[in-house]
Subunit: 280 residues, 4 copies
């Protein structure tokens, strides 16, 4: 077990036109693999907030009503990561007949991961590869090599099939396409939103997990940041379940600052194994 | 509380080409609103099966491995329904800021319910209507009046947007489009697969639930069968979560028989209120 | 016959990164219904251009190679319009069996007008209406009333089905959806790009023509400008055939100015009839 | 010049429910490269037909009205092919700036060839290849190797992007995807419908042409039949322009027989060059 402390920060600035309900998913989840040493949330002007636990993976939403005017949400935390590093080679795909019931939904297609349409594509590209961790890594590598990382090339309605056609996307698209391929191959996969040190430019990050052996393992098809430094915020079927901000009302985001870095200031080592940081 | 006993039956016949893993979702869920008086499952040739509880709504999967040859799965049960009938008028939509965390995911777009793309459509058609139960009923009525029930017009990859464009679909499509509209309006909605008496021709049925007040209420945009007689099998975000049969291997379905009827042989009365039969 | 002189102008500014081939479709077509009194094209820095006649409707392309640096293309013309005004009521739809061969392709679906997918939608909305000019006008009115004119809501890959789902678009989208409905109804329809006086803000405009009786008649579902003042540039199956600028190379548009106005400075009268200004 | 005589035949059987207008595109085009030695059309019951010349490539439509009852359309012809065989190596792609105006529309995206969405895909796969005939052949080879020929995998609304996602299709889909790639690369390409000897099972065939040097050359990504034996019926932007049968009314096709074979009974030699059989 390696231990790392990551300092995360975000500041989100809005102009509120009409009374607006916000839900922010910006605080790290509380899991066995990441502990909050400290956190601080400031909403300006002062607004009482509700912290809402959601889902089975320790995620916490911040919910409140904002009145017309300007709004600044600032969050910072120090998170101790305790990812489990495993030798990758022995991690096996689990047969459909042996998957536990709570894992099965992560084989289903979702809004942005249309695995039902990609069965033939996935089997043509990855069907003959050795099964297990290496095959999921091959999926992520394929996405890395075949899709251009191109900010602005996709929007909120783009799914894995769109990304595959246009061969461009951003982190969430890389994750969606990887997830869709995994599910098409019969490998449970899900989306994770979080913070990632060494991301340049800094931003929230989207990556994915695949279920191998009896755990979820982290993967990042963008190769933009070391997986062992990822801080989990939200977990879901795809990005539809893990938006950083959801609002009902009328408001415009004016600017956003995100940062994440090791407390030590040192770069994270590139470990040679599989990283599991999921709660089950 | 009304009580009704519904007898359900299905027989599914396959030719298995290679060893195949099956998961069937054909047994009624065990909930506070429906109790099994008796059930019987026969797999021919004899095959040991695993019953798997899944999800939070009492659903049960039947899982087993089948060997090459013919396969017949026959299931029958008597289910006592205890739906709660409520006066519809007072049932209100719950504000985004007041929804409990476990309900929030049912506002998210899903594979077959692309609510993120239908916001303007939904608000143009339903935005000015009185909120609450009546608005959900208006959505279901709109779908009923604007979409043709046309077997064969859609396939397993058809989503709500496809159905809206082509103005035709089957029960699952009617449910998907209704769900997508509800979510776009800020009303949590989800898919239910089940048995329905008086369906002609008999088949499995797909319908939907919307969350109003503090409960889930049943709706059926097809108007093909009385809601108070619906027997819940699976519950999910959309039909991707509630397939009657999922298989990994190589097998072909040869034929299927489904039936559902009141034990009394009488027709179900058309009640004048809202029907809740969900577990929470 | 009414006569109107329209002064049109456009200025397009580019930064050329690598040698780039341009084709501009910005000069009014020469047809029996519009005559050029004068026109002037200035390309800065000076570049020899080729004028290319294209298609059967008098359209003319401007083609040249541009070298790295800045590029300004400025075009102005005075165009005398001689649209034929017809009483709308007697204009009939022509039966499929009586359409001449050169009209038949305008019944086929095209890139942005997926009429093959919209048959049921079109017949549900317009199938019971009296046939003829009034039905095409009903199509345009429906689009006007049901689609929001919203700059930025669509992009170069948006087709009629996308526009119908999201209920928003710009002039080209209004035309595409109208064309798709017409074709689905068996009425030949095509896209026209041009200049339009009284457009606010001024821009190029996209509208459509339907074939009735033995002529093409102009329609504009945006109702943003009087049809009798439209100056035809390009004619095609949809906007794919009538781009204002096509380029092969690497260049970025920095700014664009478009204007069109009656030479007299007076507003165009709203005539009460159908307007034909097509050449065929 | 090689000369080959191909005997073609088709029989189409319908049940007409209501008076129906038919247009059949089943007769070989009359071009410089294929001459009809004889042809015979029989419509049963006897119905007067209209032969309609359409387009610039010698195509001829057969149009008539059919009354309720059964309908059989039988067509046979002997066609002398005079394809021009050219050495493939010297055939060059023509720069955008040098293409003649009548060729330009074949660079535009069309209903089933969404080349506008496939630019990055095309350049990633084919952008670095030597330009000219070999690059078009590489496109056709890529489609052949990456798409499964699978009857029933697509329908009348499937476009090149659908085919690319699902990696399966039939002859028209192979042509559409090839055309879309060519156009995305800046190579004019179009669809051809026709007869092809040695097709097994016999059927109408769909293939494509690319414009190289100063002529159109035939390609077939399915590799199901020798190109030098192809008999052109219709030519268009995609299959939307070249349906074998179009009807307005209500009728159902009951059965269809198609055949094509060399008059000599011998197989066609596999020539080693490029085949041009287009009229311009």
């Amino acid at each position: 077990m390696s231990t790392n402390v990551i300092n995360v920060f975000c500041q989100l600035n809005y102009t509120i036109v009409e009374p607006t309900s916000f839900v922010f998913s910006i605080a790290p989840a509380k899991t066995d693999f990441q502990q909050l040493q400290q956190e601080a949330l400031t909403v300006t002007p002062y607004t009482p907030v509700e912290w809402v636990d959601i889902g089975d993976y320790g995620s916490r939403l911040i919910r409140f009503q904002a009145q017309p005017g300007t709004l600044t949400v600032e969050y910072r935390a120090s998170v101790q990561l305790m990812p489990v590093l495993m030798p990758a080679a022995p991690l096996e795909e689990i047969q459909f007949s042996a998957l536990s019931a709570d894992i099965l939904p992560y084989l289903n297609p979702s809004r942005y991961c249309e695995s039902d349409r990609l069965g033939r594509f996935a089997f043509k590209e990855f069907g003959q590869l050795p099964m297990g961790y290496a095959r999921v890594q091959a999926v992520a590598d394929w996405v890395y090599h075949n899709i251009d990382y191109l900010p602005g090339s996709t929007d909120a309605s783009s799914g894995a099939c769109d990304v595959l056609i246009q061969r461009a996307g951003v982190c969430r698209d890389f994750a969606h396409l990887s997830i869709a391929f995994c599910r098409a191959l019969g490998i449970p996969a899900r989306y994770v939103a979080g913070y990632a040190p060494e991301l340049n430019p800094p931003d929230f990050h989207g990556f994915f997990e695949a279920y191998l052996g009896d755990k979820w393992y982290l993967f990042d098809a963008t190769k933009l940041a070391p997986v062992s430094g990822f801080v989990r915020i939200g977990t879901g079927r795809d990005a539809a379940d893990a938006s950083f901000a959801t609002l009902v009302g009328e408001a415009a985001m004016d600017s956003m600052v995100v940062s994440a870095a090791t407390a030590s200031g040192e770069s994270l080592p590139d470990n040679g194994g599989a990283v599991s940081s999921a709660t089950q």
